[in-house]
Symmetry: C3
Subunit: 178 residues, 3 copies
């Protein structure tokens, strides 16, 4: 069975058709570069509304059976930025190390990286990771944490993912097998 990866773009304007969702496309392109395992994207475009984001996350995890769900948008300090709140509301375990590491890497480029509230968490057998909205930051942030994603999915009973080791060197502790 193909691994499923959910992509949730949270954007009022993109969801109204005001502009194209380049961020969601950037995530799919980056994941294609990283993964050698056969996988299938499941895509959702929602407004910056907490209930809409929660609903998308729950569907992708519970109904679609995605092992990984990656969000983009809604991680800043503005009033309509509620993706971290939606993520926390649907997860049973939070993984603060993801946000710390993504901010730490983004800080090498811009001092405003500390404004990002992006986090990650577990819902059942699904890992949910928030990425920022800007396409350039998406690649920086996903690259900052992806080496730990396959082993995380092993631990929570998700799909077995293999990466292109020339791009992302996955870490799995010795002795762990499929």
């Amino acid at each position: 069975m193909k691994a499923k990866i959910g992509i949730v773009t949270s954007s009022d304007r993109a969801s109204q058709g005001v502009y194209e969702d380049v961020s969601g496309q950037a995530i799919i392109a980056t994941l294609k570069e990283y993964l050698v395992t056969d996988w299938e994207p499941v895509y959702r475009l929602v407004p910056d509304d907490q209930v809409s984001i929660e609903t998308a996350l729950k569907q992708l995890a519970d109904e679609e059976g995605c092992s990984l769900v990656v969000t983009t948008g809604g991680t800043g300090p503005a009033l309509r930025d509620v993706t971290p709140e939606a993520t926390e509301a649907v997860c049973t375990k939070m993984l603060p190390g993801f946000g710390e590491q993504m901010r730490s890497v983004s800080l090498r480029y811009v001092s405003t990286a500390i404004l990002s509230r992006q986090t990650a968490g577990i819902r059942g057998k699904t890992l949910i990771i928030n990425l920022p909205g800007k396409p350039k930051s998406i690649k920086e942030c996903l690259g900052a944490v992806f080496a730990a994603v396959p082993y995380c999915l092993d631990l929570i009973g998700g799909a077995y993912l293999e990466t292109n080791e020339d791009v992302i060197r996955t870490f799995r502790p010795t002795g762990l097998s499929k």
Copy 2:
């Protein structure tokens, strides 16, 4: 209209007049160095008591209309250290990147920096930032995060701040105007 910046010193002894509040003065002096925008300090000196700190924060945000409120004191692990709790209680959004970055910079100087629980958050159109109590650490910590403050206020609808670029190089993404 002048930008207003709240300064809250939380200290049992300073509020009883046992000693002078040098920390609050250090914040005002540092902000004078950083900002070229015309601004006005609104000062509060309160005991290390959660309700008193919350009340001061709410007044400065809601009644005084401060775009930024900076606290000093009460961020350690001792029983009377409750400033982060008061901050979290009055904020609708927390910004964990501020605490991470301030601790990370303080760690270059002292290994006890990990004991600081300082954080930051948003209440309406006000950004609240906790600083430690020691005057020396205040400058280190404020310097570690201030470059991101003006853009944060832009995003939450606060005052437009401009810094002395020789001291603090403010980062605002291109294309963003007043």
Copy 3:
């Protein structure tokens, strides 16, 4: 009076006798290396069950009077990993800087360090610190934060600890005396 330090190993298999608890032993050996103060370990081995961990933590803090309690195991993303939850449930104050610093140091060795949810907090006069389950990581993580532990205990009214300065250089701000 001798300082008491609690060691809590959370492991389903070790608590069933399937294998020996090498992690708990590694903590005791590391603390012996660090401390010159006379101290006594108080040891508990429990299954990966939140209530069992909470009960052990409360007994060590409230009944045994341990100034420091160090846990090992149960900090990952898997379903049975609940040590951070148990810690948060029994603490009145959390110290996020410990987890940040331990993950930051572990990241120098393995990219999966971001999966660790380890944290630290205060219960009364007791500091509780989560360490990972792997003996190799235990030493890395304890070494990453221990310099701040003695001063933390001073601030919360715990035992006065002195370290072997050749191994761990304790930081206590000037002017602070026993």
